[in-house]
């Protein structure tokens, strides 16, 4: 997928002034965190499970080569086929080659962020194959030619009236006078429109939430059942996934599954958790004849052993996104690529380069909610700081910003000077603002005062109070 992360500042302005988006985000802002909180409060062991989940993922990443090879041998033993892909191009080529080998015309798809990452839909279309998204949210945004704005709720930026307009514009064979007011009606319409596509598809592509090394199995977690129809009905099932989805055993997967739904939607368990191992068995009445795994690296392996390794623990629950004050203000499209919110702010520069995505690690108030709700305890603010550091050393931030920062650092390293400056500045500001108590504008601080007033300092500084108390 083509990134527009460089345009983050313009994207956020567009997001903030988009009324539909702001209304839709308002629903998300309260819904997701509340449901997650209720679900985690019901499970007294939740925090212990987070600790175990973290150690399972760390253990797997430390031995990732071993588990990938074990996984591969079990995929092959169960009759499946492995396709390793270093890049998006290799992943797309592998999918195309499989589709061509069976003469596929229509491909149904369950939701896969890896498929979004490699831009699979555009690639297939350019090669004469019709991809049909079947997750309701993905289907809606495919009709609208938009990228997803959230990793588990791709159409979260839309209001139902927009969905109704899209359906009217695209489902032209249906009665134009039909009522499309309630989500129920749109849901039924999508079900009716998509059912024949499920049955007609030659190939079904799903993602994977986890890959299990002990058996060569892939696991998908869905609520709609679209992933299961996608992988059961066509002759060929392709699992589109990436190397960090690995876990050693089913017991390990069970622990992570207990964390996933509760962190994501606040459900005890999603409607459908499906473990797939290889193609149809002799005597089976249904299921695909071929089972393929396209396993993508795309820069992930390079993150191992370094300061960004922890992001590879991510199980894509979206809790960090749902709790982020920046995401819930500007929406997912502002981030300009597949992965929004705090996990995206860390992962996107890792995968497409900090030059492309330098703004994203700055899209944070460092409130720390993301880390506090992460089911595998990824230190997201710390890693965003690492990226800011790199942005600074690579001189990607504006010059005036860098000069200001070095000046400040020079003073801050000299406490006597710093305190003297701070004392003078706070007294001067306190005096200047003694009547109003705040400033509407300040030189050098218009980034702050353009959108809010700056309060005038009152009384004495913390440092002088502290010094007095210690006497």
């Amino acid at each position: 997928m083509l990134a527009t992360s460089r345009e983050f500042e313009a994207n956020t302005r567009a997001g903030l002034s988009n009324k539909n988006l702001q209304h839709a985000l308002g629903l998300a802002r309260t819904g997701f965190p509340l449901r997650r909180q209720l679900a985690t409060e019901r499970l007294p062991e939740f925090d212990q499970l987070r600790e175990i989940g973290r150690s399972i993922k760390d253990h797997t990443l430390e031995h990732l080569d071993f588990y990938l090879e074990l996984y591969e041998s079990n995929v092959v033993a169960s009759g499946g086929k492995m396709h390793w892909a270093r890049t998006s191009e290799e992943a797309c080529a592998a999918v195309l080659q499989i589709c061509r080998s069976v003469g596929a015309k229509i491909v149904t798809k369950g939701k896969s962020m890896v498929a979004e990452e490699v831009g699979l839909n555009d690639f297939l279309e350019a090669n004469g194959i019709t991809p049909v998204e079947t997750d309701l949210g993905e289907y809606i945004i495919q009709l609208r030619h938009e990228p997803p704005s959230h990793i588990i709720a791709p159409a979260i930026h839309l209001m139902k009236e927009q969905v109704a307009d899209t359906f009217r514009a695209e489902h032209r064979s249906l009665d134009p006078e039909r009522s499309l007011v309630e989500p129920r009606q749109m849901c039924d319409e999508a079900r009716a429109v998509l059912r024949p596509r499920f049955l007609a598809a030659d190939v079904g592509i799903t993602g994977a939430n986890f890959l299990v090394a002990e058996s060569g199995s892939s696991i998908i977690v869905t609520n709609e059942g679209n992933g299961d129809l996608t992988q059961t009905l066509p002759r060929v099932h392709i699992v589109m996934t990436s190397i960090e989805k690995m876990v050693p055993t089913f017991e390990d997967a069970a622990t992570l599954l207990r964390l996933l739904a509760r962190s994501a939607t606040g459900q005890e368990f999603s409607s459908y958790t499906t473990i797939s191992t290889g193609p149809r068995r002799p005597g089976d009445l249904d299921g695909p004849e071929q089972y393929h795994v396209v396993l993508l690296d795309n820069g992930r392996s390079a993150l191992l052993g370094g300061e960004f390794q922890d992001i590879l623990r991510c199980i894509r629950c979206s809790a960090c996104i749902n709790h982020c004050p920046v995401y819930t203000a500007v929406g997912g499209h502002a981030y300009g690529w597949v992965y929004p919110g705090p996990m995206g702010a860390v992962l996107t520069p890792s995968l497409i380069g900090i030059e492309e995505a330098a703004h994203l690690p700055n899209a944070s108030t460092f409130c720390g909610r993301c880390e506090s709700v992460c089911p595998v305890k990824i230190p997201l603010p710390k890693m965003m700081r690492h990226w800011r550091e790199r942005e600074y050393t690579r001189k990607l931030s504006p010059r005036v910003y860098r000069t200001g920062l070095s000046l400040w650092a020079w003073v801050a390293r000299r406490p006597g000077l710093y305190h003297a400056f701070a004392e003078i500045a706070s007294r001067a500001l306190g005096w200047a603002g003694r009547y109003r108590g705040r400033f509407r504008s300040l030189p050098l601080a218009n980034g702050w005062t353009a959108v809010r007033d700056m309060p005038a300092p009152e009384g004495r500084s913390f440092h002088s109070l502290w010094a007095e108390r210690r006497k």
Binding site: G225, L229, D252
Partner: protein, 244 residues
């Protein structure tokens, strides 16, 4: 593509600043996998006796809009199914898993129920299947694919009816998987294991929860109190299911 494979594995090793793992460590990792060591399992179901687990399973399944009927024996299933279909205003036409254990259900006592055995097609509106286990922890059904239990039955029809034998209720997902491992002498997993928790749903439009997105709109559980008869079994190789 084998070049990609080698490069990715090499890349992982060089990022981790090591070569191939030491054989001793590899042996330890293999032992870790073979041991199937359990991680922490929440006590909400494990702390209960079996009757408590059955009650918890039902309560949690109903919480996610599954419906539950209890029957005393296999002989009562046709009556319970007919009553459910009538109450929901559904047609009396079922596709039933071609599982020999389901043959013991005396459908003939309800001659108006039209029964077909096989996989589901696009026209089928109601399916009836056994299950492999029922997980008390979250009110989850565990179904496995096989020649007697085609997966399409679980997803294509609008209404899915599942027979759960009381002794199939277990505490955790791990318990369900262990049952599968001990049942499976061949050590080969079924192609698909479906954990099903309530009917299909979506919240993709304004976070409004709607049932029946693509899978079944209704999930009805018939709990069989009599445990003398069995549910799903893959061991009966003699049985030749009627395809379609």
């Amino acid at each position: 593509m084998s070049e990609a494979r080698e490069r990715i594995l090499e890349g992982i090793r060089s990022a981790l600043k090591r070569g191939l793992l030491d054989p001793n460590i590899q042996a330890q990792l293999r032992a870790r996998v073979a041991a199937h060591g359990r991680n922490l399992i929440p006590t909400r179901a494990t702390a209960l006796d079996h009757a408590g687990r059955v009650d918890l399973f039902i309560a949690l399944a109903e919480e996610v809009q599954a419906t539950v009927a209890r029957v005393g024996s296999l002989a009562e299933i046709p009556e319970a199914v007919a009553r459910y279909l009538a109450a929901e205003n559904l047609p009396a036409e079922l596709v039933v898993a071609p599982d020999p254990n389901m043959d013991a259900v005396p459908w003939e006592v309800r001659p108006l129920l039209r029964i077909r055995h096989g996989r589901a097609t696009a026209e089928d509106r109601i399916s009836l299947t056994p299950c492999h286990a029922a997980i008390a922890e979250t009110g989850t059904l565990m179904l496995i694919s096989g020649r007697q239990t085609p997966t399409t039955l679980n997803f294509l029809p609008d209404t899915h009816i599942v027979i759960v034998r009381r002794d199939q209720v277990v505490a955790s997902y791990e318990d369900g998987l262990d049952r599968l491992r001990s049942d499976n002498a061949s050590d080969k997993l079924p192609r698909v294991i479906n954990f099903i928790t309530g009917p299909s749903r979506t919240a993709d439009i304004e976070q409004h929860i709607e049932l029946g997105a693509h899978g079944p709109r209704r999930l009805h559980i018939v709990l069989l109190e009599d445990t003398r008869t069995t549910g799903s079994a893959e061991d009966d190789e003699e049985h030749n299911p009627s395809a379609q």
